[in-house]
Structure formats: C-alpha cells, structure tokens
C-alpha cells in the first residue's frame, strides 16, 4: 500500500480532502502555535532561559495531526520530543516552559489532563500505553483510546516489540505513531533497521499498519482519526508510520554538522508541513497575511503570559528531592527531608 497523502509538498490536493475548511484552520493554528513555541524555545535556550531542549521543527504535522484525533477522554503518551502533541492535547504553555527548565512544577502535569509525562528512557512508554488502554475497558463508560508516540530509533528497543505484541494479543485500543524522522541522534534509519518501511512490521504483529506523509497534517489527522475510531470500536491497535524529517539538531546541545550533510536537511526543510497548509487555506480564501500576523500577535501574547507565569514559580526547595518517593515520607526520607531543611 502506498503512503497516505492528501496535500503534496507544493500544496496541491489530489482528489477529495475530507476535512472542512474550519477543521483545516484549526489544524493549521495548532501546528503554527507549536512551531511558534519551538522557534522561541531554541532562542530561549540560547539565552539561558530554558534548559537543553529537543526541537521538533518539521514534525509539527506528525504530532499535531495525530493529537487532534483524540478527545479529552483519550490519553496521549509522548516520548521526550512530543511537545507539540502535548500542547495540542492541552498541556498549558507555562507548564511546558517549566518542564524544559527542569523545574519541579513542570513535572506535575495538571490533574484531569490525560497526558502521561514526557519519557526519556526510549520506548519504555509503549508497554504503559498498552496497559493504560486496557484499563479503560474496566473503568470508562466508553473506553478511552491511547495514542502513543515513538521515534524510528525507538523501534529498535525490545519494549517496542513487547508492547506491540501485547497490544495485538489483547486487541488493545491503542494507536502507535512512529515518527520516522530519518535520525536517531547521528544514526540514520538505514543503519537502524534492515527494512526502513516501519509500517511493514504491522503484518507480523497482526495489526493494522499505515504509512503516511508525516508532513501532511491532513494525512496524519485523518489516518489517526480512523485508527482511533477502529480502536474505539474494539477493532484493535494500529501502527502508523509518519514519514517526516528531523530538520533541527537532535537537541540544542547537538551539532548535526558532525554527522550529516546539512544540505540534505535543507532539502527536507522545503517539504515542511506549514507552508503547504497555508497554500491550501489560501486557495480556499481562509488564510492570509493579516490573519497570520494576528495569529502571531496572539501567540506572542500567550508566550509572554506563560513566561511570566513560569518565572513566578518559586525556586525548587532542596527538601523536594525526597518528597513523593513514597506516598508518605519513609523513615530514611524523613531524616533526609529534615537534613535538607524541610519543614
């Protein structure tokens, strides 16, 4: 089966596009919001106002499109690069900033928001996503669906395999989105696996598999939406491979010049998802420079407010180190807590 695409890099729509203009605007705004934050985050990091940060430039459609397929009832399970998906699913911007400042308040996501924390140890989130999906069967009136992200590199871990196998065996309502962005730090996908069509793994597990143009927000959204609907209907898990590209460095500490030809990255940058969306919206008379400028003003205001909120968070107290190890301080934690000035 071919790669799912609705909007070409040039902005042409081949055939019918089953999204309303309103939906397209919503998708574009969410993607643009993510892009705005990502660009500013890199700057903030350089200014020392953010810690090490993994940019997602170029991957906005893969993340936002998939996240848009969820309702508030559904859970989103990110790796560490899914800031765009997390924002789209409702993580407040101030919280995102605090998180990337490594501030304790950044780690406590809001109660009620169905979002697991960002995951640093690669692939370990996927078994959790499967368990969480099964839990919905016991609890929810209408079971929730879980959408979990992972990178191309992450597919090499044993946990990826175990999670997909468990999901298939239990027909769990979970959607796995692999963002195949070509790189795992310096390792290209061709050195990561023997068959770079990650979607081909689905057959072996006995689950649905789809490869989509991950830079086409219509494709990622519609594909995820279908997969979520199937999961909700009890038809089991789906593996979505979203083909995209890591235009930016791995993190703000990385220098990709050491291991790749940056001309290749620039070529891929031309295929990034926002321009083509603007073109489609423009053709429908639904977007123009004025609206773009207005959006930017909104986003700037939102960012400034979030920064102010984040800046106002009190400094971490040393005693916080031993809090939340157990539900209550154990005897060793209590001693430590006192030594650390806890009161």
């Amino acid at each position: 089966m071919a790669t799912v695409q609705y909007i070409s890099p040039g902005g042409e729509v081949a055939g019918e596009l089953p999204l309303t203009t309103e939906e397209l605007v919503r998708g574009y705004r969410a993607a643009a919001r993510a892009r705005f934050f990502d660009e500013r985050a890199v700057t903030l990091q350089r200014q020392g106002r953010l810690g090490v940060y993994p940019p997602f430039r170029g991957q906005e459609a893969a993340q936002v499109g998939a996240a848009l397929a969820l309702t508030e009832r559904d859970w989103l399970v990110p790796s560490y690069r899914e800031t765009a998906a997390a924002l789209t699913h409702g993580l407040p911007l101030s919280q995102v900033i605090l998180y990337w400042r490594s501030h304790p308040a950044g780690w406590r996501f809001p109660e009620g928001l169905r979002l697991l924390p960002f995951y640093v140890p690669i692939a370990t989130q996927l078994p959790h996503a499967v368990g969480l999906a099964l839990a919905g069967r016991y609890q929810a009136e209408e079971p929730w669906v879980v959408l979990a992200f992972i990178g191309d590199g992450g597919t090499s871990e044993g946990d990826f395999h175990e999670a997909l196998n468990f999901a298939a065996v239990y027909k769990a309502p979970v959607v796995f989105v692999v963002q195949n962005n070509g790189w795992a730090i310096s390792t290209p996908t061709e050195r990561q696996m023997g068959n770079v069509r990650i979607k081909d793994r689905a057959l072996g597990y006995g689950m649905a598999g789809v490869r989509v143009d991950g830079n086409d927000l219509a494709a990622t959204w519609l594909t995820a939406r279908e997969a979520v609907a199937r999961a909700r209907a009890g038809e089991g898990p789906t593996l979505i491979e979203a083909l995209t590209y890591r235009i930016a460095p791995h993190t703000t500490s990385d220098d990709p010049g050491r291991y790749r030809d940056e001309a290749e990255a620039r070529r891929h940058a031309a295929e990034e998802p926002l321009a083509r969306l603007r073109r489609v919206l423009g053709a429908r008379g639904a977007w123009d420079e004025a609206r773009e400028a207005e959006l930017e003003r909104e986003l700037e205001a939102e960012l400034q407010a979030a920064l102010a909120e984040a800046d106002a968070a009190p400094d971490a107290a040393p005693a916080e180190i031993v809090e939340h190890v157990y539900a209550e301080l154990g005897p060793d934690q209590r001693r430590a807590w006192e030594a650390l000035g806890g009161r």
Binding site: A105, R108, F166, H324, V325, P331
Partner: protein, 337 residues
C-alpha cells in the same frame, strides 16, 4: 495433585501451605476490589507453575485473571499502564531469576513515577515472584535479587516467611499506594502448614518482627532464611544460648529501629541471606549497624550468605551454597567467642 489443583484453599483443620495462603490472599483481593487484576505467564488456565493462582480464572473470569505473552518487561510495563489507568495490578513473574528483563521498567519507572510526576501519578502495583533455592530447581530458577530491587527508591520490597504472614502481607501490598515487590521463597511454598485467618486482614508493611526473642545474638533474616535461623536458635537453646531471630520482612523501606533495638540488646549481629554475599541486601543491614549501633557491639558483625558466585546450576552441591543452620551456628559461635 489434581485434587490440590481444584482446591488450593486447604482444609481449615490442617492449615494452609504458603502457596495456598498466597492463592487465598489473591482470591480475597479479587473479591473485594474490582480494580484488582492478576496476570502473568501461565497464571490463567493453568493456575501458575506453582499453582499460586489456581482456580482464580475460573472464579473471577478471564477479564480479571489472565495469561500474558512470554515477556517480563511487557508484563511489568503493562502493569504500570494498568495502574496509571486506575487499576490495582498484581503481576506474577514466573521466577525471580527471570525478572531481569523487567529491571528497566523497575529502575526507570516503578520507583520513579510518583517522584518524577511530583505525586500526579502513582503506581499501586504488586509484582510477585518466587525466589531462592533449596529445591533443586534448574539453572537461574533459584536467584535472590532482593538486593537489586532494594536499590530502587520508591519501590517497596516484602519477603514473607510463613503462610499467615504471606497472606496478610500480600493483602497489605495490594492495598498499598506504592509499588511493592513480593518475593515468595520457593522453599517455603509447601514446607509448612499453618492456620491462616479467613477473609481480609493485612499486616503493616515496613516493620521487622522479632519471631523468637533472645539475648545472646541477633539473627537478622527474611523469607526462606527465617526457618533456617529458627532451627539454629532451637539448637542453640539446647545449649542454653538464646538467639533472637528478627524477620526483616520488609526490606525496603527497612525498619532500622527494630534492627538497632535488637542489636543494642544483644550486642551481636549475624545477618543471613541466600543471595551472593558481596553487595547483597545483608550489606545494608550491616551498614546500618556500623553506623548506628557500633558502641553496643561486642563482636564483629558476621554475614552468612551465598558465596560470591552464581547460585550453582549443578544442584547436587546447592546445600553448600545456601546457608543452613550449621553455618549460622558456626557464625554464632564466632561472635560469641
């Protein structure tokens, strides 16, 4: 065997074995809380390789008691996800020696989740695993990895030493708001029968117990080593030497107060465990004594443990590896000299 398979809950007059007590605890927990789920390799139709889950699937259905694929990281990871979704997962790992593939989930997540998310998420989950030697199991089926688990802050480690304690502690572990490893000594599964109260009851986690008071030497032990120490104490008593046997029961968080109190009274400490000696959990007990009770010691601390080698896969000599009363008594003599 077939009869036991159908009726793991023993005749009340005869008492229960430890594996029956575990089965009973699971049945009670499944019965009183819909959120409790029991799963693992071969725990469903077959009822587990030791029959610890025997009859539970028939009684509570495939939704509550189910088999998993053969993947330990997946099992523990699945449990974490279930706990995040509001369930009370009780996972079985077939043998503690096969817990190792799941250690990433343990060390990266089980103990960290509450801490990392500042209390937003917690993992009220139990992982049960049979551990330890003494019954000629095949290679790697006799491992004792409690010392590794006890290095994961945020995880509790509980090791029962009798049928009654097993039931009450397992029920407490299932009710606990934090993740608990529950290690069941294979050697004890059927070695002893004991009257065990019916229905729900729970012992407090985090408390060591003096199972035999004495004044000459404190023996610190847990799980399968408790019966070894009690036997040693019996022999010593015949010679008029009263050994105090302290069952640590919860290794993490350790009940330091009871340990120190005992050693301060007796002035002598022998620590008994079956994992390899170096770096094992007994080192932590010795360290606490060296830190807090040194002025009360009248003799060096002695550890009686597995030798610094893997548990021997050639089982004809395993009784030379696993501490027995003879070795404990030799250590007692050493500290009494």
């Amino acid at each position: 065997m077939a009869a036991e398979a159908r009726a793991p809950v023993a005749d009340a007059r005869q008492g229960m074995t430890m594996v029956q007590a575990v089965n009973d605890a699971l049945a009670v927990a499944l019965g009183r809380d819909d959120r409790v789920l029991v799963f693992g390799q071969d725990v469903g139709v077959m009822g587990g390789v030791f029959r610890a889950t025997d009859g539970l699937q028939a009684r509570f259905g495939e939704g509550r008691v189910f088999d998993t694929p053969l993947a330990e990281a997946g099992i523990v990871g699945l449990g974490i996800g279930l706990a995040l979704g509001g369930m009370r997962p009780v996972a079985e790992v077939q043998f503690a020696g096969f817990l190792y593939p799941a250690l990433d989930q343990v060390l990266s997540h089980l103990g960290r989740y509450r801490h990392r998310t500042r209390g937003r998420f917690s993992l009220p989950m139990v992982v049960r695993a049979p551990y330890g030697g003494g019954v000629h199991t095949p290679e790697q089926h006799a491992d004792s990895p409690e010392g590794i688990l006890a290095q994961a802050p945020g995880v509790k480690v509980v090791v029962p030493s009798s049928p009654e304690r097993a039931k009450g502690l397992l029920l407490a572990a299932i009710d606990d708001p934090d993740p608990v490893f529950f290690l069941e000594a294979i050697k004890l599964y059927r070695s002893e029968r004991q009257a065990v109260p019916e229905g729900h009851f729970a012992f407090e986690l985090g408390r060591a117990r003096i199972v035999r008071p004495g004044d000459a030497v404190s023996l610190f032990c847990y799980g399968g080593m408790v019966e070894v120490c009690l036997k040693a104490a019996e022999v010593a008593a015949r010679e008029g030497v009263e050994l105090e046997v302290v069952d640590l029961e919860t290794l993490a968080p350790l009940d330091e107060a009871t340990v120190l109190d005992s050693v301060k009274r007796t002035g002598r400490a022998v620590i008994v465990y079956e994992a390899p000696r170096s770096g094992g959990f007994g080192a932590e007990v010795a360290a606490r004594i060296a830190e807090e009770a040194i002025y009360h010691l009248e003799a060096p601390v002695v550890r009686v443990a597995g030798w610094d080698a893997p548990y021997p896969p050639f089982t004809s000599v395993e009784h030379h590896y696993r501490p027995d009363a003879r070795r404990v008594l030799a250590a007692v003599r050493e500290v009494l000299e």
